[in-house]
Amino acid sequence: MRTITVKDALQEAIIEEMDRDENVFVMGEDIAEHGGIYGVTAGLLEKYGKERIRNTPISESALIGSALGAAITGMRPIAELMYIDFTAVAMDQIVNQAAKIRYMFGGKVDVPLVIRTQGGGGRGSAAQHSQSLEAWFMHVPGLKVVMPSTPYDAKGLLKTAIRDDNPVMFIEQKMAYSFKGEVPEEEYLIPFGQADIKKEGSDVTLVANSYLLPKALEAAKIMEEEEGIKVEVIDPLTLVPFDEETIIKSVSKTGRLIVVHEAVKRGGFGAEIASKIFESDAFYYLDAPLQRVAGLEVPTPYNAKLENFAMPDVENIKEAIKKTCYL
């Protein structure tokens, strides 16, 4: 099977959906001639023209507000929001408008809006361009939250997001655009709310996604080789809706849970997953305190060494695996 990057996989998803449905279009800051800040929409202006590949002014609130208006009047916009940090500017449009409209109109209006955005560190983008803010959106009923890691998942999930009649926060990671992986030529979709067991194991359940999934898999491989610990690595793929069943089943088997995320630990999705486990029958199978491997509770430093220190890495994940196995 051919190997492509996350960036190419995302573009393929956009092209396939734009070809399939003339109501699908892209709008955002510098997405036309410039092709988007990480190049996902490069070349699309030539292919589809200005009507469907639209540059917007530097006003995130106007961008999301007009995309939302298009969505409720029959279009299927993909709004690219350059940095997830900038959602703060558009928060009223996302939280009070996009997330609420369908509910407040008694289901008479569909909101087929996709907000593609990217977050995370690793590139020296400093404190206002490196945050991982998925938990903000998880907290708001009415929004779906998707965080892919591999090219295969990125493509299948974006296509599903575009076809969804509800607003979807599609959160990419800036360092993950270059991740490579196998993607079939044939069309496929990946359903929301279905976690993917990336590696099976019997001793520890490790939940990881996005940029940290490959690091989790690397740590799992090392620990299996060095200590014989069989780690089950699960990518939830979508945080809302969330596949509780797969993780509960896994923890009931292993009795040990680690959640890895780039966002700061305090109030991160790790806390939510841990709570779901405590609320479930899997509680009775826990044989060790759970471990959260997460970003330090500091603004992301600009200095590369400090930035690296603030982000979880393979060593941190290995330590957590050992700790949960009492090693």
Binding site: G255, F283, Y284, Y285, L286, D287, A288, Y326
Partner: protein, 435 residues
């Protein structure tokens, strides 16, 4: 490499075990998991299985003898291994075991050392450990975390279950697995609540709906092996005669007047058969594929049915013993058989076997030869029949005798003649006085 069979530890309070009986004999070929011996602990009797295959080279602790936990009770050698170099001296093996045991005991102590908790202190245990302990109805305060940890984990509870509360004997485990029964659902009657083989048997009795598979172990295994071998190897023929027992019946009544010993028909048959075997030495023989050994002693085996099978204790030199002595010996042997106390001596050396099914109203049957003997006599019930005697219709106590013989060594005519002579002797007992 030779492998030492040690006295196992079943349950916490056990310090020594008594060997009830050896299921195997020295020189026997042993498969892994074959039952070796039955031991009696302070609480129960259990079967001990072989951990390795081989030849049972030497039994060091005899039946009814006791041994401390960990003492070597037997040695299993590899096939063809020269075991003469092995030191079976019980003194030295005892010495070495006492050398090891203090250390062992210390280790044991370490393991069982309990965490000291102040009163009212909560026990630190994982949810998984608590769940398992609750499922097994265990008190967490009895369980200690492994070294280096202060919280009880699921593994500590399962180790406790495995070490401190052995769930089932190996035989019981095998039986349960074969029948798909969950051991933990059974109430164990063995030491420390251990499920033993008999618990599974009684479980099956309750659950009459379920099919049962009962593996052959111990005596049943021996019977199975010996019967199959005899039936497959020996061309055996059964010949029958009908005997008028009027004279014997009258004689027995007369004996009752003069002897305090209760004489049974079997005793009389032992007497008659043993006398007759003297005249037919070819029938008092041990037979193999290529030759036969005519035995000088006449030792009559008597088949006795016991709760778990069939045993054949032997009356030695029967031809030289009178009725009272034969009866006395028979009673002792049958008593020992019923109590499971027969020793190897009681069971070996037979040259001819008598088996009596008369008590079950059987008249004629085809017994299987007890190898390597040449013949076996099956005795039916004595029942009144209408028979012509000297042209008149009479009612007589009649008995069928069925004798199976090994046709490799004994032909039809001499076998029938032997049986005919027995018939004549029984019908005319005075003739016994003549020879």
């Amino acid at each position: 490499m030779a492998y030492e069979v040690k006295m196992p530890k079943f349950g916490e309070t056990m310090t020594e075990g008594t060997i009830l009986n050896w299921i195997v004999e020295e020189g026997d070929q042993i498969e892994k998991e074959d039952p070796l011996f039955e031991i009696e602990t302070d609480k129960a009797s259990l079967e001990v299985e072989a951990e390795e295959a081989g030849i049972l080279a030497k039994i060091l602790v005899k039946e009814n003898e006791s041994a401390a936990i960990g003492d070597v009770v037997a040695v299993i050698a590899e096939e063809g291994e020269d075991i003469s170099s092995l030191d079976f001296d019980s003194e030295s093996s005892k010495e070495s075991s006492t050398e090891v045991s203090p250390e062992k005991a210390e280790k044991e102590d370490e393991k069982t050392e309990k965490v000291i908790r102040t009163e009212g202190e909560k026990i630190k245990a994982s949810p998984a450990a608590k769940r398992l302990a609750a499922e097994k109805d265990l008190d967490l305060s009895e369980i200690s975390p492994a070294e280096g940890r202060d919280a009880i984990l699921e593994a500590d509870v399962s180790n406790y279950i495995k070490n401190k509360m052995p769930q089932a004997t190996p035989v019981a485990e095998k039986k349960a697995a074969a029948r798909g029964i969950d051991i933990s659902s059974l109430e164990g009657t063995g030491a420390g609540g251990r499920v033993q083989s008999s618990d599974l048997d009684s479980y099956n009795a309750q659950d009459s709906e379920a099919d049962q598979e009962i593996p052959f172990t111990g005596l049943r295994k021996i019977i199975s092996k010996r019967m199959t071998q005899s039936f497959q190897e020996v061309p055996q023929v059964t010949t029958t005669v009908k005997v008028d027992m009027k004279e014997i019946k009258e004689l027995r009544e007369e004996i009752k007047q003069i002897s305090e010993e209760h004489i049974s028909y079997t005793d009389i048959l032992v007497l008659v058969v043993s006398r007759m075997l003297r005249k037919y030495p070819m029938i008092n023989a041990h037979i193999s594929q290529d030759s036969m050994i005519v035995k000088s002693n006449i030792n009559i085996g008597i088949a006795v049915d016991v709760p778990d099978g069939l045993v054949v204790p032997v009356i030695k030199n029967a031809a030289r013993k009178g009725l009272e002595e034969l009866a006395k010996e028979r009673k002792i042997l049958v008593g020992k058989a019923r109590e499971g106390k027969l020793n190897n001596d009681d069971l070996s050396g037979g040259t001819f076997t008598i088996t009596n099914l008369g008590g079950f109203e059987t008249e004629i049957f085809t017994p299987i030869i007890n190898q390597p003997e040449a013949a076996i006599l099956g005795v039916g019930q004595i029942s009144d029949e209408v028979v012509p005697v000297d042209g008149e219709v009479k009612i007589r106590p009649m008995l069928w005798l069925s004798m199976a013989y090994d046709h490799r060594a004994v032909d039809g005519a001499p076998a029938a003649e032997f049986l005919q002579k027995i018939k004549k002797s029984l019908e005319n007992p005075i003739s016994l006085l003549l020879s």
